[in-house]
Symmetry: none
């Protein structure tokens, strides 16, 4: 089963593009709901198709496999989200403000899309195949704003120039995502976006320049 998947996957490249985009979205939305509630393994194709009001076989006209559907969810939602972010970003010129906005936007996006958060953080983050997928590229791309914004700050001299920019991204995303995961799993805190300013402020302290560490750091 595992081996044959690989082989067949190649024969079926990009079935998607050719077909009705509308229906793809319909399926993705159905899948989001079921995956989000039950998790990937516990979800059946049948359940997705029932939500999407299509037959099981039809799903395979639009996607190559159950996992393809899962990954496509990320691609779709991230793509959509990136658009919004770019627009807002366009109007913000202050780097610090951009960073604040990014954190806020991420928190709010997760908070207002718990099903997607569940899929992304409980099912995708940790999926070894995901990182090989095209969808992962899109998701990764979407986090580049943090890297870029940090770099921008470094150039402007407001952020420390002795930090690995990817490590900074790690910190910010790790912080946010860990919080969201906890919120999803144990329901605490009630609202995560409440913390947006504190989080921003902690991040800023960690990365801002003229912010001498009181004692020398070994």
């Amino acid at each position: 089963m595992k081996t044959s998947k690989q082989t067949k996957a190649q024969e079926k490249i990009n079935k998607k593009k050719e077909k009705n985009y509308q229906k793809q979205v319909q399926i993705i939305e159905g899948a989001l709901q079921v995956f989000g509630e039950k998790g990937f393994e516990a979800t059946t194709i049948s359940a997705i198709c029932k939500k999407a009001k299509i037959s099981d076989a039809t799903l395979y006209e639009y996607f190559n496999s159950k996992e393809d559907v899962l990954f496509s969810i990320a691609e779709y939602y991230t793509g959509t989200e990136i658009q919004k972010l770019k627009e807002v970003n366009h109007y913000i010129h202050d780097t610090r403000e951009r960073m604040r906005m990014l954190i806020q936007a991420h928190l709010e996006f997760y908070e207002s899309n718990p099903l997607y958060s569940s899929v992304a953080l409980l099912n995708l983050k940790g999926n070894r195949n995901f990182i090989k997928s095209k969808a992962y590229g899109v998701v990764r791309e979407s986090t580049r704003v943090f890297v870029d914004t940090f770099s921008e700050g470094v150039e402007k001299g407001i952020f420390r120039d002795d930090l690995d920019k990817y490590l900074v991204r790690n910190m910010i995303l790790g912080f946010i995502e860990h919080l969201v995961i906890q919120w999803l799993l144990i329901g605490r805190p009630d609202e995560i976006s409440t913390y947006r300013d504190t989080i921003f402020e902690m991040v800023i302290r960690a990365i801002e320049k003229n912010n001498p560490s009181p004692r020398s750091l070994s």
Copy 2:
């Protein structure tokens, strides 16, 4: 048939404690290897038992289900790790140093136990049943050192008293775990413990007291 299953489920609890502890560990170690390499779903009971050199049926003398084995891995390793931490912790009096040590210890533990890291961060973190399990309690307990250390710092006046201690823990763990996950999945960075000082330093800046944020924070 259905009803008797329910009944038996109750009788089954605590099958473990009564039996040979040695063999439990043997199974846990076999399972760690297979789960760590293939992931929970892709792992079969047979594979675990082959590694542990026991029959499939025997596994069920010691554990109630595949998931029980998974959770027990966390319980076992965390329990062991907590012991070590407590010992070291005992000899460190400086709060800052304690925090440094904790971060270092966590990073090194993950780095030197990639299989366990894989199980814990790719399979357990995100498992909705895990948080209901006894094992989760142990894991959670093990992270309390961060909360306690932070509180200690607050009391001593070296850490900010305007931060939610759980949020602080979130930041630290999120940061570390996100880094480890990336390391596991895409192999970067090569060595995560290299970053121990930078990470510590970023964390410290975020939580240390006499560290006025240069501009006012809205």
Copy 3:
């Protein structure tokens, strides 16, 4: 995992009716053969499917479980038999003759369908779940002719009015079925329908009216 099973159970009901009736019968006939020869527990789904020339998975498109197949056999054959009985019954006006016919029909049905007899009397009679099933309703219904015929005789004044009609049914069915079971298990007597007249006559003596018991019955 546990919860979703419950949910699915509800969705599953009535899988049958919607699908190809032809194939259902095909499966039922295959199952009859295997159940009839080996008994319920000793029969495997595989064996049934081999007889029915379908794959194991296909069986589950038409039935919900092995037990569902078993019960459906009874429903199917009883349903068919009831039809025949009703037709014949229609042309018989004499109550005594009707009773004779019923006994004869039952004996002959069992005798000419030993596989079904085996399933019905060795596997179903005594199955605690069966009485809760829909199929049981059909079977029960099919024995009502005995009750009705007896009542008819009572009304006409030819049968005793001091007997519980259900007890009468018990006697007749118990008599017949016990005989059939013996025939199935130890092969004696060779032919059960040989006894049709004797059985009828014994039954009649027990229930007929102007048939004073010689001595007083305490």
Copy 4:
């Protein structure tokens, strides 16, 4: 599994006799309870042994298999019951009264031992292996009283001499057992021994001699 059972069974002949009779009874009583409540297939050796307060392995010191235990229940209880019957029988000289007593005794035995009734009528009657067992011989033997009593009546000229004595036994046992099964499964009637006189009287009418059937019997 099926084939090896046969082979091994021969090696293990009569393990029973040599051992502690006390413990055998203890096991049989435990088994009666579990078999009686759950049925043969749904009963596990473990459950029996828990009731009997011995270890699973010990059961096999006294019995050769799970089925052996089942059959032994019948042997034990029937043996005990036969004793009682013989005693009572000894003091009854009237054939008709003997028949009345037998019916009454059977009904009362079943009614006061529902667990045994369940085992005997739901699990044993219909078990194809049972008839090959030694236990079956004992059970069969116990029903000979009906045959003998009927023969006695025939000799004395009070019972019809045109009836197959085994058919008579069939009628009586079938009647009684069918009633008991119904009582076990659907709980009706509330008390079966209430019917003892009616049943006796119906039986008597069917078999008594100077009891001319009103019309000629074809």
